[in-house]
């Protein structure tokens, strides 16, 4: 998995996660919402980030929230769909 992408994603997630729950307390496979790290609204910001940073266009395929469930799944999505 691309470590550069991972760093970018982690850096971004740090800006939207709860300040009292550091991101390094969860593993790449843990659910971001389930762990309480983000709320469902933060999903929107993740979408904005993926659109602007990696040029992913969701308008054709729609959104499957399962694809944004964990760091691992987000990185997987970037690998498949980044332009």
């Amino acid at each position: 998995m691309d470590t550069q992408n991972r760093d970018k994603v982690i850096r971004f997630l740090k800006t939207i996660t709860r300040p009292d729950l550091p991101i390094d307390r969860i593993s790449d496979d843990d659910g971001l919402i389930k762990s309480g790290l983000i709320d469902s609204l933060a999903m929107l910001e993740i979408i904005d980030f993926l659109e602007s940073e990696f040029g992913i266009d969701f308008s054709e395929t729609g959104i499957d929230p399962v694809e944004l469930e964990s760091i691992h799944k987000i990185l997987d999505l970037i690998e498949r769909r980044a332009k």
């Binding site: 300040p19 469902s40 609204l41 659109e51 308008s59």
Partner: protein, 520 residues
């Protein structure tokens, strides 16, 4: 051997006593409330004896659901299916598809008075056939014309509206007229289509994502023929959401089952609390039409919202009674919804689907968006999947606030309104109820205000996100939280004025102004 064993027992007992002695009321509450995560209990539940206790509990709890008003269905028929699902986990999906789907068709067709065996079988076959056609369409999604591929949900709803228009052209009461027997049975198909449209929508999404290729038709029956949760809202969404939540190992299944039992027990607890509210505030006692009045010195004599607004046209009760009625009725309705959701999700968990609750502590929400997320989770998800995201992804990409505003209004306002409009057509197709849009003026306003409220709440939450938490005394934090919760209660208590079974816009609005002392 006995002496050391007794010694070990005493040490263990001593340790247990010490452990309980050290427990604070909060940790004791936590351990009771989270009993489904207790490792010892989990280990016990997969032993033969523990499993017997689990199923005996489930049997009793499901057997009593007819007394669990407002739960609309008897859930005991699911019991044999649940046992089979545990015994043959690899075939769970098929068993649920055939079993739960069969129960749903039987229940719904009997409800629609389709009692003649020939028509019963034919109607069931038509409904399954219709679903199969949509499954085939979803499977060949990539080969659909581009226009349909880009707007599958719009085409799906256009198809339904064509059916509704055809039915609207038929003579009134045709369903009871024997000379219209074929049209009457075809209308059953249209009724099922209207009822299942959001579920079929999820099936089309699976087609769009390509995930449907890995599934069979029967797999989709678990949500398309929904005995669990017989409303238009798909509790547990579609197969794409459900499958990753399916417990694979025996221990995961046990965890899901205990979590399911917990929800079912919670439903009974809320029912008991509702009975207390009935007696203490509304002066009634009983369920299912057998309701008796409680003598007035024992209760506050508050009103449910319909009764309150009706009464206000003759004489307005005191403001204290009006405000108390609005707030207690909002709490009452929230708990009713929690009961229904807990039973449905509880059963899904017993089958091994570790899915989110439908209602999760909404009365402790500190913002409108938070309440909306926790109050009726699967309805909110429906609006998000079918209205919010499609709008969010298609419009105003470079204007973030406008983008959120458009998506929020598309879901909480227009989508919400449209969902209820379709429900109304259900009544028209099912029982030939006259189409009347009077109550929809009220609901239109309700959805509009809800949309605006949620948009503002989203902006406020986004502004707060990522900011460091400002340290303050526990007392101040408590009061700030309490004030926020009160604000949420007040907003939704007042908004319900425009959302009740007997809604009429002018009457509701006049009542709203009257409670602020403005009469016209």
């Amino acid at each position: 051997m006995s002496a050391p064993s007794q010694g070990t027992e005493s040490v263990r007992a001593l340790r247990t006593n010490e452990k309980y002695a050290q427990m604070t009321p909060r940790s004791l509450y936590q351990s009771v409330a989270q009993f489904h995560e207790n490792p010892q209990l989990l280990a016990f539940s997969i032993t033969p004896k523990g499993n017997l206790v689990l199923w005996a509990t489930v049997l009793v709890v499901l057997g009593l659901t007819p007394y669990l008003s407002p739960v609309p269905l008897p859930y005991l028929p699911l019991f044999p299916l649940l046992i089979l699902a545990q015994q043959f986990p690899a075939r769970r999906i098929e068993m649920m598809g055939f079993g739960v789907g069969g129960l749903f068709l039987f229940h719904r067709l009997v409800q629609l008075h389709v009692t003649h065996l020939f028509w019963f079988v034919l109607d069931a076959a038509l409904v399954v056939g219709m679903l199969y056609i949509f499954f085939t369409i979803a499977q060949s999604f990539a080969r659909l014309p581009r226009l349909v591929r880009n707007n599958p949900q719009i085409f799906l709803h256009l198809l339904l509206w064509c059916g509704i228009l055809v039915l609207a052209g038929l003579p009134a009461g045709f369903r009871e007229d024997p000379s219209w027997v074929i049209a009457s049975n075809l209308s059953v198909c249209c009724l099922f289509f209207a009822f299942l449209i959001w579920r079929i929508g999820f099936m089309l999404y699976s087609g769009k994502r390509g995930s449907i290729q890995k599934t069979g038709f029967v797999d989709h029956l678990i949500y398309c023929l929904p005995y669990l949760g017989s409303t238009q809202v798909p509790y547990g969404k579609g197969l794409d959401y459900l499958l990753p939540k399916l417990a694979e190992s025996r221990l995961d299944l046990a965890k899901a089952q205990l979590a399911g039992v917990k929800l079912l027990l919670l439903a009974y607890l809320w029912r008991i609390i509702l009975l207390v509210l009935d007696v203490a505030f509304f002066g009634t006692f009983g369920t299912h039409g057998q309701i008796v009045d409680v003598p007035s010195p024992l209760c506050l004599r508050l009103y449910h919202i319909d009764g309150l607004i009706d009464l206000s046209t003759q004489h307005m009760p005191t403001m204290a009674i009006v405000w108390a009625s609005l707030i207690v009725d909002m709490v009452y309705e929230t708990m009713q919804l929690a009961i229904i959701g807990h039973v449905i999700i509880g059963c899904l968990r017993l089958f091994g689907f570790n899915v989110f609750r439908n209602t999760y502590k909404p009365l402790l929400s500190t913002s409108l968006i938070n309440f909306w997320n926790r109050y009726y989770y699967y309805f909110k998800e429906l609006l998000v999947d079918f209205f919010f995201f499609p709008t969010y992804l298609s419009f105003f990409k470079h204007r973030p606030r406008l983008r959120i505003f458009a998506a929020t209004m598309a879901s909480a306002f227009l989508g919400n309104f449209y969902y209820h409009l379709l429900q109304h057509f259900d009544g028209f197709i099912e029982s030939g109820e006259a189409l009347s849009f009077v109550k929809f003026y009220s609901y239109f306003f309700y959805s509009f205000v809800l949309g605006i409220g949620i948009f503002i709440s989203i902006l406020r939450e986004q502004n707060q996100r990522g900011k460091p938490v400002v340290a303050s005394s526990p007392g101040r934090t408590f009061w700030v939280t309490l004030r926020k919760i009160a604000g949420v209660w007040l907003f939704f208590s007042m908004l319900r004025i425009w959302d009740h079974p007997g809604s009429a816009f002018m009457q509701d609005t006049t009542f709203f102004f009257a409670i602020w002392g403005i009469h016209f």
